[in-house]
């Protein structure tokens, strides 16, 4: 029973971070039909910026929102400079379908090299601002600790904010409309290109939060070639695909499924199998239900 509780708690806590990553990929995919493989690099950059801000401001609680704002600005900048130019130039021939993918790959390399130039290749430590000792209930200590509880609550709050933006505001309506039917949205007077940039900006903020929370909730160490962040990218992608790559609730659901499955593997079988199981899960979903569990069939075609 105790093991089961541990599994659920580990699963949910991992899922909260995967879902942030998945949401940022879904937002980018919806707004520009690009899967942003540079998201890991952008999250890593945000984590480094968070580290720098903590070092200068001295307060994690100010650094976190600041880093998210910077992450959003950077992401919007990338859309504005890179993606728009790309749309103008690479429209013909074999490359057209894959140019955005290749471009985000180049961006990933660029970000990593830049991080290496600025912060070097050694370990950088971003300390957790809260205790990582599990809560006690009487005699038993559970695996949930103040830090991971904060991560969970913070992510839930972000989700609520994002869903309010999407469901209740005009901006959210414009975001949904330009994803669903860009030309009609344009006819209705929505500035689709601006809305796209906004989509990237929100994705950048979510990715930045994912990067920082992943770091403080995990080991706290950062390196430019961090495998942890590559895995975060893969798990975010898998979560997004399980949910259908189109749908925000789907991304959260996908992250929950992935988080719980991986936690179960980790606790009941072996931690070494986590990646293989995640990869098999991805293949399984792609073969059995390529449109995901909450996506539309049409969404599969790029």
């Amino acid at each position: 029973m105790n093991q089961f509780l541990d599994m659920v708690l580990i699963g949910i806590s991992a899922a909260s971070i995967y879902s942030l990553m998945a949401i940022s990929m879904v937002l980018v995919w919806r707004s520009t039909r690009v899967v942003n493989f540079a998201q890991a690099g952008m999250a890593l950059l945000s984590a480094y910026i968070g580290y720098e801000l903590v070092a200068r401001v001295g307060n994690f609680w100010i650094a976190l929102p600041l880093a998210m704002i910077l992450g959003a600005a950077f992401s919007a900048f990338i859309e504005f400079v890179l993606m728009r130019t790309l749309q103008k130039h690479s429209t013909q021939g074999a490359i057209a379908a894959i140019a955005p993918i290749i471009a985000t790959l180049g961006l990933l390399g660029l970000i990593r090299a830049t991080i290496g130039f600025i912060w070097g290749h050694g370990d950088v430590q971003l300390e957790a601002p809260l205790s990582k000792v599990g809560f006690k209930f009487g005699e038993t200590t559970i695996i949930m600790n103040p830090m991971s509880l904060f991560v969970l609550l913070f992510v839930i709050t972000l989700m609520i904010i994002v869903s309010i933006i999407f469901q209740k505001t005009n901006i959210g309506l414009a975001l949904r409309a330009s994803a669903y039917a860009p030309e009609i949205a344009q006819l209705a007077g929505i500035r689709v290109s601006g809305i796209r940039t906004l989509g990237w900006a929100i994705a950048g903020a979510a990715g930045a939060a994912a990067g920082i929370l992943q770091t403080v909730n995990g080991t706290g160490s950062l390196t430019p070639e961090s495998l942890e962040f590559s895995l975060l990218l893969v798990f975010g992608f898998i979560a997004a695909v399980i949910g259908g790559l189109e749908s925000l609730p789907g991304a959260v659901l996908g992250a929950l499924i992935l988080g719980l499955v991986l936690a179960a593997v980790q606790i009941y079988i072996s931690g070494a199998l986590v990646f293989i199981v995640a990869f098999l899960l991805l293949l399984l979903v792609l073969i059995l239900r390529p449109q995901g569990f909450l996506g539309s069939k049409a969404g599969r075609r790029a």
Binding site: F37, I95, I98, I102, A103, L110, S230, F237, I238
Partner: protein, 344 residues
């Protein structure tokens, strides 16, 4: 003459390489061998991206299959060298076929993500099987060059010969496949799969076939790579290798095999250039970070401004000036009032 008999071009090129290899020092010979390996890897990616419209960001994983298979065959069955390469090609092709079966159902971003996931997870997969030797990997030793080649025939020169012989054969064969019925089918599928299907091309089967062939070539490149390093381990096939190959393919231009040397030479030259710059300014930060920076910047610039590669760009320019262009394959199908065409 050269256009009509491409095999003469290949043999001529091989002869020049043979002459060059006798005049270079060890480091250059080693780099030359690396160029050959990249050429095979990039060629296999060009086949996949430019001809069948599928993209793989994890080709390093397929190279790894080849490298490990060759090393295992050598260690456990003491297979002769040429046989290890055959085994590498077959093993990677089987792996590619399995991946291709899943891939044929997927379009762009899904396939890219899946292959990327495979490349990222490679070390953790390799660690699962004790036969693969974990982080340290397993050695792949093809032995000394035959004594008949003389005393001063070095190990690296031997590698250089093997790599280039394999590369020339592989590229010549690849060129022929691309110009065959299959190549035309793949191009049609890439341009417009509905039109291709209506014209009687089995889209799924063709995609799987393309993936299998590409994987087989990647396996060959992997075995050669493991040979030059004497080792098959996760570190020999890092994620960066997959990215380098994708970069090389884009730099070469994904629509023709003609530019394959551009990409492979660039990939080998960039670390050299970075090293030269770093030596000038005497900084370790530059040495470690500049290659990545240059490669990535070059990749982004290419995608933005020469998206279809330099060779294609030249063809396009010549076509504009009124010379006959190389004609793309075109299929159009009319059903009722609707027309599907592979012409963009």
């Amino acid at each position: 003459m050269l256009k009509k008999h491409p095999i003469i071009t290949f043999i001529f090129f091989g002869f020049i390489l043979f002459l060059i290899s006798n005049r270079l020092d060890e480091l250059r010979v080693y780099q030359g061998a690396t160029v050959a390996i990249y050429a095979i890897g990039i060629g296999s990616l060009i086949l996949l991206i430019g001809y069948s419209g599928q993209v793989s960001l994890g080709h390093g994983a397929l190279l790894a299959i080849g490298g490990y298979a060759a090393a295992l065959a050598r260690i456990y069955y003491d297979a002769p060298v040429w046989l290890t390469f055959v085994i590498a090609v077959l093993a990677a092709a089987i792996g590619g076929a399995l991946l291709g079966l899943a891939a044929a159902r997927l379009s762009g971003p899904y396939l890219a993500g899946t292959t990327l996931a495979l490349a990222i997870g490679l070390p953790s997969i390799a660690n699962q099987f004790s036969i693969l030797g974990g982080e340290q990997g397993i050695t792949f030793d093809i032995g000394l060059p035959p004594a008949s080649l003389g005393e001063d025939f070095t190990q690296y020169k031997w590698f250089f010969w093997i790599c280039w012989l394999a590369a020339l054969i592989a590229l010549y064969w690849l060129r022929n496949v691309m110009n065959s019925r299959y190549g035309r089918s793949w191009k049609a599928v890439r341009s417009n799969d509905v039109a291709a299907e209506l014209a009687g091309i089995h889209v799924g089967r063709n995609k799987v076939l393309a993936f299998t062939i590409s994987a087989g070539l990647a396996g060959l490149a992997g075995a050669l790579l493991a040979m030059t390093i004497n080792l098959a381990s996760p570190g020999v096939f890092p994620l960066a290798l997959s990215f380098s190959l994708a970069t090389g393919a884009v730099l070469s231009g994904v629509t023709t095999l003609g530019g394959v040397m551009i990409g492979s030479v660039t990939l080998v030259a960039i670390p050299e250039i970075a090293l030269a710059i770093a030596n000038r300014y005497g900084s370790e930060t530059i040495t470690t970070n500049l290659p990545g920076l240059l490669v990535s910047a070059l990749l982004i610039l290419t995608v933005l401004f020469v998206p279809n590669g330099p060779v294609e760009q030249m063809h396009a320019k010549r076509a504009k000036r009124g010379h006959a262009s190389h004609s793309p394959v075109e299929i159009s199908v009319r059903v009722g009032s609707k027309t599907w065409s592979t012409k963009k």
